[in-house]
Amino acid sequence: MAKILDLSAQTRSASGSVAVRRLRKAGRIPAVVYGKKHENKNLELDGKTFSKLLQASSSDNILVNLKIEGEAAESLALVQEVQHDYLRGGILHVDFHAVAADEEIHAGVPVILKGVEIAEKKGGMLEHILHTLEVHCLPKDLPEKLMLDVSSLELNHSKHVSDLTLPEGVKTKMDSHVVVAVLKEPKVEEAPVVAVVAEGAAAAPAAGAAPAGAAAAPAAGAKAAAPAAGAKAAAPEKKK
């Protein structure tokens, strides 16, 4: 189950892009808290504290006891969304969803595969398709991550949502036939095909073929071996 961590926040009066940019420069993160039984409030957090909190967790789904400065009571909140700056790094904004302990919530939980090396020893390539699973549960039952053992997976077989063992009190609305991971057979290499072409070309002069034919054979072989080179040669012709 996900741990409930303590987090302190201050109310924020400044809003708008300029004020928020100044806040980020000062090492603070703008945030907001909302909920069914909670008044919407603009907040600000300490950047370093929240980053450490995120790094310690395996997902962005963190339950926190939000202690807002100036408010007597703590409120239970789920980190609903963390906006990252995908270009420069860092956190832009955090959404907190204030929830009641007896209110069902839904959140995306990461699916972690176990026994990948054992499965890949069978000669296949494991493709992880479903990285997060949306679950519905009470806040106290929210799992941090879901483990799926793929060591028993055979070639060209897959594990589905139905193979995931959900903890008690946790449900998912996703179809049980959705594929989570598949052990695919690797693609057949084209190299043997090229070898056959080369053998055929070598056999031609032995059978007493004209020198012109022998000269044409390596060219054909080269064409088969490097389709990209052929494509590159075709491009300038198209330009003309």
Partner: protein, 138 residues
């Protein structure tokens, strides 16, 4: 075969705007590792193909490669030794409009070292600064 749309509503397109940064398609969504653009550019369809070839050859047909961009935009050019006027030239090639932050390629099912080397080779085929990113680090 270089990528191009199978059918378009109009043959020629305006140049458009390249302002701003990528707000979508900017994270590793399908694979484990990715190659992210740091500049804005038009990337031609043959450049995308060259990158794909470079990555798949480096991976030696292991793993999976995801191409996250598509050349939707036709670019026209005037034929050589033509006088000005007489209308816009014919479409010459196709480009994908790239903003800073756009995820160009993704790789899955291989080790980080192999993915990093494959992305390095692919980055050399492009005229934009790029960065290697991992799903777990973002």
């Amino acid at each position: 075969m270089a990528m191009m749309p199978s059918r378009t509503k109009f043959r020629k397109a305006h140049r458009g705007s390249r302002k701003g940064i990528a707000t979508t398609g900017n994270r590793v969504s399908f694979g484990e590792f990715g190659l992210q653009a740091l500049d804005r550019a038009w990337i031609k369809n043959n450049q995308i193909e060259a990158c794909r070839v470079a990555i798949t050859r480096q991976l030696k047909r292991k793993g999976a490669v995801f191409i996250r961009i598509f050349p939707h935009k036709p670019v026209t050019a005037r034929p050589p030794e033509t006088r000005m006027g007489k209308g816009k030239g014919p479409p010459e090639f196709w480009v994908a409009v790239i903003y800073p932050g756009t995820m160009l390629f993704e790789v899955a099912g291989v080790t980080e070292d192999l993915a990093r080397e494959a992305c390095r080779l692919a980055a050399h085929k492009l005229g934009v600064r790029t960065r290697f990113v991992s799903r777990h680090a973002q």
